[in-house]
Assembly symmetry: C3
Homo-oligomer: 161 residues x 3
Amino acid sequence: MENAMEKMILWFELHQLQEAYVHALDNDRLEEWPEFFVDDCLYEIIPRENADASLPIGIIYCDSKRMLRDRVLSLRHANIYEAHSYRHMTSGLMIKRIDADTVETESSYVVIQTLQDGESHVYQAGRYLDRVIRTGAGWRYAKRRVVYDTLRVQTLLATPI
Amino acid sequence: MENAMEKMILWFELHQLQEAYVHALDNDRLEEWPEFFVDDCLYEIIPRENADASLPIGIIYCDSKRMLRDRVLSLRHANIYEAHSYRHMTSGLMIKRIDADTVETESSYVVIQTLQDGESHVYQAGRYLDRVIRTGAGWRYAKRRVVYDTLRVQTLLATPI
Amino acid sequence: MENAMEKMILWFELHQLQEAYVHALDNDRLEEWPEFFVDDCLYEIIPRENADASLPIGIIYCDSKRMLRDRVLSLRHANIYEAHSYRHMTSGLMIKRIDADTVETESSYVVIQTLQDGESHVYQAGRYLDRVIRTGAGWRYAKRRVVYDTLRVQTLLATPI
Protein backbone atom coordinates (compact mmCIF):
# COMPACT_ATOMS: atom_id res chain seq x y z
CA MET A 1 0.00 0.00 0.00
CA GLU A 2 3.00 2.27 0.67
CA ASN A 3 3.89 2.26 -3.00
CA ALA A 4 0.31 2.91 -4.14
CA MET A 5 0.14 5.88 -1.79
CA GLU A 6 3.35 7.43 -3.03
CA LYS A 7 2.14 7.11 -6.60
CA MET A 8 -1.18 8.67 -5.68
CA ILE A 9 0.44 11.57 -3.83
CA LEU A 10 2.64 12.28 -6.84
CA TRP A 11 -0.41 12.20 -9.11
CA PHE A 12 -2.26 14.49 -6.74
CA GLU A 13 0.55 17.05 -6.60
CA LEU A 14 0.82 17.18 -10.39
CA HIS A 15 -2.96 17.39 -10.64
CA GLN A 16 -2.98 20.37 -8.26
CA LEU A 17 -0.26 22.07 -10.31
CA GLN A 18 -2.34 21.61 -13.43
CA GLU A 19 -5.47 22.97 -11.76
CA ALA A 20 -3.68 26.00 -10.33
CA TYR A 21 -2.34 26.70 -13.82
CA VAL A 22 -5.74 26.67 -15.50
CA HIS A 23 -7.32 28.63 -12.64
CA ALA A 24 -4.85 31.43 -13.30
CA LEU A 25 -5.69 31.45 -17.01
CA ASP A 26 -9.46 31.19 -16.55
CA ASN A 27 -9.56 33.99 -14.02
CA ASP A 28 -7.52 36.33 -16.18
CA ARG A 29 -4.52 36.28 -13.85
CA LEU A 30 -2.23 36.02 -16.85
CA GLU A 31 0.73 37.54 -14.98
CA GLU A 32 0.92 34.39 -12.84
CA TRP A 33 1.18 32.16 -15.87
CA PRO A 34 4.98 32.34 -16.41
CA GLU A 35 5.52 31.50 -12.73
CA PHE A 36 4.38 27.93 -13.35
CA PHE A 37 7.52 27.38 -15.41
CA VAL A 38 11.22 27.10 -14.65
CA ASP A 39 13.43 29.84 -16.11
CA ASP A 40 14.84 27.67 -18.83
CA CYS A 41 11.57 26.26 -20.11
CA LEU A 42 9.90 25.32 -23.35
CA TYR A 43 6.29 26.18 -24.05
CA GLU A 44 4.68 25.67 -27.40
CA ILE A 45 1.26 25.25 -28.98
CA ILE A 46 1.29 23.09 -32.07
CA PRO A 47 -1.32 21.41 -34.25
CA ARG A 48 -1.72 17.65 -33.99
CA GLU A 49 -0.56 16.89 -37.53
CA ASN A 50 2.71 18.77 -36.92
CA ALA A 51 3.32 16.94 -33.66
CA ASP A 52 2.77 13.62 -35.42
CA ALA A 53 5.20 14.60 -38.17
CA SER A 54 7.69 16.15 -35.68
CA LEU A 55 7.43 19.47 -37.48
CA PRO A 56 8.34 22.32 -35.15
CA ILE A 57 5.97 24.98 -36.47
CA GLY A 58 3.26 26.04 -34.05
CA ILE A 59 1.31 29.12 -33.09
CA ILE A 60 3.29 29.85 -29.94
CA TYR A 61 6.92 29.01 -29.28
CA CYS A 62 8.64 30.29 -26.14
CA ASP A 63 11.92 28.85 -24.88
CA SER A 64 12.36 30.84 -21.68
CA LYS A 65 10.28 32.29 -18.88
CA ARG A 66 11.24 35.74 -20.17
CA MET A 67 9.53 35.01 -23.47
CA LEU A 68 6.41 33.95 -21.58
CA ARG A 69 6.41 37.26 -19.73
CA ASP A 70 6.85 39.17 -22.99
CA ARG A 71 3.84 37.38 -24.38
CA VAL A 72 1.71 38.38 -21.38
CA LEU A 73 2.75 42.01 -21.92
CA SER A 74 1.80 41.79 -25.61
CA LEU A 75 -1.58 40.31 -24.77
CA ARG A 76 -2.24 42.97 -22.16
CA HIS A 77 -1.16 45.68 -24.55
CA ALA A 78 -3.43 44.36 -27.31
CA ASN A 79 -6.18 44.03 -24.73
CA ILE A 80 -7.47 41.10 -26.68
CA TYR A 81 -7.70 38.63 -23.85
CA GLU A 82 -10.45 40.27 -21.86
CA ALA A 83 -12.88 40.30 -24.77
CA HIS A 84 -13.69 36.63 -24.25
CA SER A 85 -13.73 34.34 -21.31
CA TYR A 86 -12.19 30.90 -21.29
CA ARG A 87 -12.79 27.84 -19.17
CA HIS A 88 -10.32 24.97 -19.26
CA MET A 89 -11.54 21.49 -18.46
CA THR A 90 -8.81 18.94 -17.91
CA SER A 91 -9.05 15.20 -17.73
CA GLY A 92 -6.96 12.08 -17.84
CA LEU A 93 -3.72 13.18 -16.22
CA MET A 94 -1.36 10.23 -16.59
CA ILE A 95 2.20 9.83 -15.46
CA LYS A 96 4.25 8.40 -18.31
CA ARG A 97 7.76 8.39 -16.83
CA ILE A 98 9.35 9.13 -13.47
CA ASP A 99 13.05 9.86 -13.20
CA ALA A 100 14.33 11.29 -9.89
CA ASP A 101 12.84 14.79 -9.71
CA THR A 102 11.52 14.85 -13.26
CA VAL A 103 8.16 13.49 -14.32
CA GLU A 104 6.65 13.25 -17.76
CA THR A 105 2.88 13.48 -17.95
CA GLU A 106 0.11 13.62 -20.50
CA SER A 107 -3.41 14.93 -20.10
CA SER A 108 -6.39 16.10 -22.14
CA TYR A 109 -7.99 19.51 -22.21
CA VAL A 110 -11.00 21.17 -23.69
CA VAL A 111 -11.27 24.95 -23.64
CA ILE A 112 -14.75 26.45 -23.66
CA GLN A 113 -14.89 30.02 -24.94
CA THR A 114 -17.66 32.45 -24.19
CA LEU A 115 -17.91 35.28 -26.67
CA GLN A 116 -19.34 38.69 -25.99
CA ASP A 117 -22.66 37.67 -27.49
CA GLY A 118 -22.92 35.29 -24.55
CA GLU A 119 -22.70 31.96 -26.35
CA SER A 120 -20.34 29.28 -25.07
CA HIS A 121 -18.77 26.76 -27.39
CA VAL A 122 -15.83 24.40 -27.71
CA TYR A 123 -12.88 26.59 -28.63
CA GLN A 124 -10.14 24.04 -28.64
CA ALA A 125 -9.51 20.41 -27.68
CA GLY A 126 -6.17 18.73 -27.34
CA ARG A 127 -3.60 17.38 -24.98
CA TYR A 128 -0.74 18.53 -22.83
CA LEU A 129 2.62 16.73 -23.07
CA ASP A 130 4.62 17.87 -20.08
CA ARG A 131 7.94 17.54 -18.38
CA VAL A 132 7.61 18.65 -14.78
CA ILE A 133 10.47 19.29 -12.36
CA ARG A 134 10.46 19.37 -8.57
CA THR A 135 12.04 22.66 -7.45
CA GLY A 136 12.53 24.24 -4.06
CA ALA A 137 9.30 26.17 -4.64
CA GLY A 138 7.31 23.10 -5.71
CA TRP A 139 6.59 21.48 -9.07
CA ARG A 140 7.19 23.60 -12.17
CA TYR A 141 6.87 22.95 -15.89
CA ALA A 142 10.19 22.53 -17.70
CA LYS A 143 8.41 21.68 -20.94
CA ARG A 144 4.77 22.03 -21.85
CA ARG A 145 3.77 21.09 -25.36
CA VAL A 146 0.15 21.89 -26.16
CA VAL A 147 -0.97 19.74 -29.07
CA TYR A 148 -4.39 20.73 -30.37
CA ASP A 149 -6.84 18.63 -32.38
CA THR A 150 -8.79 21.62 -33.57
CA LEU A 151 -7.47 23.20 -36.74
CA ARG A 152 -9.38 26.44 -36.92
CA VAL A 153 -7.76 28.33 -34.11
CA GLN A 154 -6.94 31.94 -33.72
CA THR A 155 -3.28 32.29 -34.61
CA LEU A 156 -2.78 36.02 -34.22
CA LEU A 157 -1.90 36.91 -30.63
CA ALA A 158 -2.96 33.47 -29.49
CA THR A 159 -3.80 33.19 -25.81
CA PRO A 160 -2.00 30.68 -23.60
CA ILE A 161 -3.66 27.30 -23.20
CA MET B 1 4.02 12.50 3.80
CA GLU B 2 1.46 12.51 6.63
CA ASN B 3 0.55 16.08 5.77
CA ALA B 4 0.31 15.40 2.03
CA MET B 5 -2.01 12.49 2.73
CA GLU B 6 -4.34 14.49 4.93
CA LYS B 7 -4.57 17.17 2.27
CA MET B 8 -5.30 14.58 -0.37
CA ILE B 9 -7.97 12.85 1.69
CA LEU B 10 -9.69 16.19 2.28
CA TRP B 11 -9.56 16.93 -1.45
CA PHE B 12 -10.93 13.46 -2.20
CA GLU B 13 -13.85 13.84 0.21
CA LEU B 14 -14.83 17.20 -1.26
CA HIS B 15 -14.40 15.81 -4.75
CA GLN B 16 -16.76 12.92 -3.91
CA LEU B 17 -19.32 15.37 -2.51
CA GLN B 18 -19.18 17.35 -5.73
CA GLU B 19 -19.56 14.24 -7.86
CA ALA B 20 -22.48 12.90 -5.84
CA TYR B 21 -24.14 16.31 -6.24
CA VAL B 22 -23.86 16.37 -10.02
CA HIS B 23 -24.86 12.71 -10.28
CA ALA B 24 -28.14 13.55 -8.54
CA LEU B 25 -28.80 16.42 -10.96
CA ASP B 26 -27.77 14.52 -14.11
CA ASN B 27 -29.89 11.51 -13.26
CA ASP B 28 -32.98 13.60 -12.57
CA ARG B 29 -32.98 12.83 -8.84
CA LEU B 30 -33.77 16.46 -8.12
CA GLU B 31 -35.36 15.67 -4.75
CA GLU B 32 -31.92 14.74 -3.40
CA TRP B 33 -30.44 18.06 -4.39
CA PRO B 34 -31.43 20.07 -1.24
CA GLU B 35 -29.92 17.33 0.94
CA PHE B 36 -26.42 18.35 -0.13
CA PHE B 37 -26.88 21.59 1.80
CA VAL B 38 -27.10 22.54 5.46
CA ASP B 39 -30.46 23.99 6.61
CA ASP B 40 -29.18 27.51 6.78
CA CYS B 41 -27.53 27.66 3.39
CA LEU B 42 -27.02 30.04 0.52
CA TYR B 43 -27.35 28.92 -3.07
CA GLU B 44 -27.27 31.30 -5.97
CA ILE B 45 -26.60 31.36 -9.69
CA ILE B 46 -25.20 34.66 -10.90
CA PRO B 47 -23.59 35.90 -14.10
CA ARG B 48 -19.86 36.55 -14.09
CA GLU B 49 -20.10 40.28 -14.58
CA ASN B 50 -22.35 40.62 -11.52
CA ALA B 51 -20.01 38.52 -9.41
CA ASP B 52 -17.10 40.71 -10.44
CA ALA B 53 -19.05 43.85 -9.56
CA SER B 54 -20.46 42.30 -6.33
CA LEU B 55 -23.98 42.86 -7.60
CA PRO B 56 -26.37 40.46 -5.92
CA ILE B 57 -28.80 39.90 -8.80
CA GLY B 58 -28.82 36.41 -10.24
CA ILE B 59 -31.22 33.91 -11.74
CA ILE B 60 -31.60 31.79 -8.60
CA TYR B 61 -31.29 32.95 -5.03
CA CYS B 62 -32.15 30.60 -2.17
CA ASP B 63 -31.11 31.25 1.42
CA SER B 64 -32.42 28.11 3.10
CA LYS B 65 -32.84 24.43 2.39
CA ARG B 66 -36.60 25.00 2.45
CA MET B 67 -36.28 27.36 -0.52
CA LEU B 68 -34.31 24.73 -2.40
CA ARG B 69 -37.11 22.21 -1.78
CA ASP B 70 -39.71 24.72 -2.97
CA ARG B 71 -37.76 25.15 -6.16
CA VAL B 72 -37.70 21.42 -6.79
CA LEU B 73 -41.49 21.33 -6.34
CA SER B 74 -41.89 24.20 -8.81
CA LEU B 75 -39.67 22.48 -11.35
CA ARG B 76 -41.56 19.20 -10.97
CA HIS B 77 -44.89 20.99 -11.24
CA ALA B 78 -43.79 22.81 -14.40
CA ASN B 79 -42.44 19.51 -15.69
CA ILE B 80 -39.80 21.48 -17.50
CA TYR B 81 -36.77 19.58 -16.27
CA GLU B 82 -37.42 16.27 -17.94
CA ALA B 83 -37.67 17.78 -21.41
CA HIS B 84 -33.88 17.98 -21.66
CA SER B 85 -31.04 16.04 -20.24
CA TYR B 86 -28.00 17.57 -18.65
CA ARG B 87 -24.51 16.31 -18.03
CA HIS B 88 -22.21 18.20 -15.68
CA MET B 89 -18.48 17.93 -16.18
CA THR B 90 -16.40 19.28 -13.32
CA SER B 91 -12.72 20.03 -13.21
CA GLY B 92 -10.14 21.83 -11.17
CA LEU B 93 -11.41 21.46 -7.62
CA MET B 94 -9.08 23.58 -5.51
CA ILE B 95 -9.08 24.16 -1.79
CA LYS B 96 -8.69 27.88 -1.14
CA ARG B 97 -8.99 28.06 2.64
CA ILE B 98 -9.26 25.59 5.51
CA ASP B 99 -10.56 26.70 8.89
CA ALA B 100 -11.45 23.94 11.41
CA ASP B 101 -14.53 22.22 9.93
CA THR B 102 -15.10 24.76 7.18
CA VAL B 103 -13.42 24.67 3.80
CA GLU B 104 -13.64 27.08 0.91
CA THR B 105 -13.24 25.63 -2.53
CA GLU B 106 -13.42 26.66 -6.15
CA SER B 107 -13.97 24.50 -9.21
CA SER B 108 -15.00 24.74 -12.85
CA TYR B 109 -18.01 23.20 -14.54
CA VAL B 110 -19.38 22.79 -18.01
CA VAL B 111 -22.96 21.63 -18.47
CA ILE B 112 -23.78 19.79 -21.69
CA GLN B 113 -27.45 19.87 -22.62
CA THR B 114 -29.14 17.41 -24.92
CA LEU B 115 -32.36 18.71 -26.43
CA GLN B 116 -35.24 16.58 -27.60
CA ASP B 117 -33.99 16.80 -31.17
CA GLY B 118 -31.01 14.79 -29.94
CA GLU B 119 -28.24 17.34 -30.33
CA SER B 120 -25.81 17.91 -27.49
CA HIS B 121 -24.15 21.26 -26.96
CA VAL B 122 -22.47 23.40 -24.33
CA TYR B 123 -25.30 24.83 -22.26
CA GLN B 124 -23.33 26.68 -19.63
CA ALA B 125 -19.76 27.08 -18.41
CA GLY B 126 -18.66 28.64 -15.17
CA ARG B 127 -17.32 28.00 -11.72
CA TYR B 128 -18.49 27.01 -8.28
CA LEU B 129 -17.40 29.09 -5.29
CA ASP B 130 -18.24 27.01 -2.24
CA ARG B 131 -18.14 27.01 1.51
CA VAL B 132 -18.38 23.44 2.74
CA ILE B 133 -19.00 22.35 6.33
CA ARG B 134 -18.26 19.03 8.01
CA THR B 135 -21.47 17.83 9.70
CA GLY B 136 -22.35 14.64 11.56
CA ALA B 137 -23.74 13.28 8.29
CA GLY B 138 -20.67 14.23 6.24
CA TRP B 139 -19.70 17.28 4.21
CA ARG B 140 -22.49 19.66 3.21
CA TYR B 141 -22.61 22.95 1.30
CA ALA B 142 -23.18 26.01 3.47
CA LYS B 143 -22.73 28.31 0.51
CA ARG B 144 -22.61 27.49 -3.16
CA ARG B 145 -22.28 30.38 -5.58
CA VAL B 146 -22.59 29.36 -9.20
CA VAL B 147 -20.94 32.00 -11.37
CA TYR B 148 -21.56 31.44 -15.06
CA ASP B 149 -19.55 32.75 -18.01
CA THR B 150 -22.32 32.17 -20.49
CA LEU B 151 -24.74 35.03 -20.82
CA ARG B 152 -27.56 33.52 -22.82
CA VAL B 153 -29.06 31.25 -20.22
CA GLN B 154 -32.63 30.29 -19.58
CA THR B 155 -33.76 32.51 -16.72
CA LEU B 156 -37.36 31.36 -16.31
CA LEU B 157 -37.60 28.35 -14.03
CA ALA B 158 -33.87 27.84 -14.24
CA THR B 159 -32.67 24.38 -13.31
CA PRO B 160 -30.09 23.87 -10.57
CA ILE B 161 -26.47 23.75 -11.66
CA MET C 1 -7.83 7.52 8.24
CA GLU C 2 -6.81 3.98 7.24
CA ASN C 3 -10.25 3.35 5.78
CA ALA C 4 -10.38 6.68 3.93
CA MET C 5 -7.02 5.92 2.37
CA GLU C 6 -8.03 2.48 1.17
CA LYS C 7 -11.14 3.95 -0.41
CA MET C 8 -9.11 6.64 -2.09
CA ILE C 9 -6.52 4.20 -3.42
CA LEU C 10 -9.30 2.08 -4.88
CA TRP C 11 -10.83 5.18 -6.49
CA PHE C 12 -7.43 6.21 -7.83
CA GLU C 13 -6.74 2.81 -9.39
CA LEU C 14 -10.12 2.76 -11.13
CA HIS C 15 -9.59 6.35 -12.22
CA GLN C 16 -6.23 5.43 -13.77
CA LEU C 17 -7.82 2.48 -15.57
CA GLN C 18 -10.43 4.81 -17.01
CA GLU C 19 -7.83 7.33 -18.11
CA ALA C 20 -5.60 4.70 -19.73
CA TYR C 21 -8.68 3.46 -21.58
CA VAL C 22 -9.58 6.85 -23.04
CA HIS C 23 -5.95 7.65 -23.81
CA ALA C 24 -5.80 4.54 -26.01
CA LEU C 25 -8.95 5.61 -27.87
CA ASP C 26 -7.98 9.27 -28.23
CA ASN C 27 -4.53 8.45 -29.55
CA ASP C 28 -5.85 6.00 -32.10
CA ARG C 29 -4.31 2.98 -30.40
CA LEU C 30 -7.51 1.04 -31.04
CA GLU C 31 -5.75 -2.33 -30.88
CA GLU C 32 -5.18 -1.82 -27.15
CA TRP C 33 -8.87 -1.25 -26.50
CA PRO C 34 -9.94 -4.93 -26.10
CA GLU C 35 -7.10 -5.45 -23.59
CA PHE C 36 -8.94 -3.35 -21.03
CA PHE C 37 -11.57 -6.09 -20.78
CA VAL C 38 -11.66 -9.63 -19.41
CA ASP C 39 -12.21 -12.39 -21.98
CA ASP C 40 -15.79 -12.97 -21.00
CA CYS C 41 -16.95 -9.37 -21.05
CA LEU C 42 -19.93 -7.31 -22.04
CA TYR C 43 -19.55 -4.01 -23.87
CA GLU C 44 -22.48 -2.10 -25.26
CA ILE C 45 -23.45 1.40 -26.34
CA ILE C 46 -27.12 2.13 -25.85
CA PRO C 47 -29.29 5.26 -25.91
CA ARG C 48 -30.55 6.63 -22.62
CA GLU C 49 -34.22 5.94 -23.30
CA ASN C 50 -33.48 2.26 -23.96
CA ALA C 51 -31.43 1.97 -20.79
CA ASP C 52 -34.29 3.49 -18.82
CA ALA C 53 -36.77 1.07 -20.36
CA SER C 54 -34.37 -1.89 -20.06
CA LEU C 55 -34.53 -2.41 -23.82
CA PRO C 56 -31.42 -4.19 -25.04
CA ILE C 57 -31.07 -2.56 -28.46
CA GLY C 58 -28.01 -0.40 -28.88
CA ILE C 59 -25.51 0.57 -31.52
CA ILE C 60 -22.75 -1.74 -30.32
CA TYR C 61 -23.16 -5.04 -28.51
CA CYS C 62 -20.13 -7.26 -27.85
CA ASP C 63 -20.17 -10.11 -25.37
CA SER C 64 -16.58 -11.28 -25.57
CA LYS C 65 -13.11 -9.86 -26.02
CA ARG C 66 -13.00 -11.63 -29.38
CA MET C 67 -15.94 -9.56 -30.59
CA LEU C 68 -14.15 -6.40 -29.49
CA ARG C 69 -11.12 -7.42 -31.54
CA ASP C 70 -13.31 -8.14 -34.56
CA ARG C 71 -14.74 -4.65 -34.26
CA VAL C 72 -11.29 -3.09 -34.27
CA LEU C 73 -10.44 -5.03 -37.42
CA SER C 74 -13.66 -3.82 -39.08
CA LEU C 75 -12.92 -0.23 -38.14
CA ARG C 76 -9.35 -0.47 -39.43
CA HIS C 77 -10.54 -2.11 -42.63
CA ALA C 78 -13.15 0.59 -43.21
CA ASN C 79 -10.48 3.17 -42.35
CA ILE C 80 -13.24 5.36 -40.97
CA TYR C 81 -11.70 6.06 -37.60
CA GLU C 82 -8.73 8.13 -38.70
CA ALA C 83 -10.87 10.66 -40.56
CA HIS C 84 -11.82 12.38 -37.30
CA SER C 85 -10.15 12.85 -34.01
CA TYR C 86 -11.83 12.30 -30.68
CA ARG C 87 -11.12 13.56 -27.21
CA HIS C 88 -12.83 11.96 -24.23
CA MET C 89 -13.35 14.01 -21.11
CA THR C 90 -14.39 12.03 -18.05
CA SER C 91 -15.74 13.27 -14.78
CA GLY C 92 -17.52 12.08 -11.68
CA LEU C 93 -16.18 8.59 -11.21
CA MET C 94 -18.17 7.14 -8.32
CA ILE C 95 -17.94 3.74 -6.71
CA LYS C 96 -21.45 2.34 -6.31
CA ARG C 97 -20.77 -1.11 -4.88
CA ILE C 98 -17.74 -3.06 -3.69
CA ASP C 99 -17.87 -6.83 -3.41
CA ALA C 100 -14.54 -8.66 -2.88
CA ASP C 101 -12.63 -8.18 -6.17
CA THR C 102 -15.57 -6.71 -8.09
CA VAL C 103 -16.48 -3.04 -8.10
CA GLU C 104 -19.39 -1.29 -9.75
CA THR C 105 -18.77 2.28 -10.84
CA GLU C 106 -20.50 5.07 -12.68
CA SER C 107 -18.98 8.07 -14.40
CA SER C 108 -19.79 10.75 -16.97
CA TYR C 109 -18.14 11.38 -20.29
CA VAL C 110 -18.24 13.93 -23.06
CA VAL C 111 -16.58 13.16 -26.37
CA ILE C 112 -15.35 16.11 -28.42
CA GLN C 113 -14.98 15.36 -32.11
CA THR C 114 -12.81 17.33 -34.48
CA LEU C 115 -13.79 16.96 -38.12
CA GLN C 116 -11.49 17.37 -41.08
CA ASP C 117 -12.68 20.94 -41.57
CA GLY C 118 -11.02 21.63 -38.22
CA GLU C 119 -14.03 22.43 -36.10
CA SER C 120 -14.43 20.80 -32.69
CA HIS C 121 -17.84 20.13 -31.21
CA VAL C 122 -19.62 17.96 -28.68
CA TYR C 123 -20.05 14.61 -30.37
CA GLN C 124 -21.62 12.64 -27.57
CA ALA C 125 -22.38 12.97 -23.86
CA GLY C 126 -23.38 10.19 -21.52
CA ARG C 127 -22.28 7.93 -18.75
CA TYR C 128 -20.39 4.71 -18.17
CA LEU C 129 -21.95 2.00 -16.01
CA ASP C 130 -19.16 -0.43 -15.23
CA ARG C 131 -18.38 -3.66 -13.48
CA VAL C 132 -14.64 -3.86 -12.91
CA ILE C 133 -12.72 -6.95 -11.78
CA ARG C 134 -9.31 -7.22 -10.15
CA THR C 135 -7.24 -9.68 -12.17
CA GLY C 136 -3.63 -10.83 -11.91
CA ALA C 137 -2.76 -8.19 -14.53
CA GLY C 138 -4.64 -5.36 -12.79
CA TRP C 139 -8.19 -4.03 -13.03
CA ARG C 140 -10.18 -4.97 -16.13
CA TYR C 141 -13.73 -4.25 -17.30
CA ALA C 142 -16.10 -7.19 -17.04
CA LYS C 143 -19.02 -5.04 -18.11
CA ARG C 144 -19.05 -1.58 -19.61
CA ARG C 145 -22.40 -0.13 -20.57
CA VAL C 146 -22.12 3.18 -22.39
CA VAL C 147 -25.41 5.03 -22.06
CA TYR C 148 -25.55 8.13 -24.24
CA ASP C 149 -27.79 11.18 -23.85
CA THR C 150 -27.26 12.34 -27.38
CA LEU C 151 -29.68 10.84 -29.89
CA ARG C 152 -28.13 11.82 -33.19
CA VAL C 153 -25.13 9.56 -33.23
CA GLN C 154 -23.42 7.78 -36.04
CA THR C 155 -24.74 4.22 -35.93
CA LEU C 156 -22.93 2.71 -38.90
CA LEU C 157 -19.51 1.41 -37.88
CA ALA C 158 -19.74 3.26 -34.61
CA THR C 159 -16.42 3.89 -32.89
CA PRO C 160 -15.80 2.71 -29.34
CA ILE C 161 -16.55 5.20 -26.60
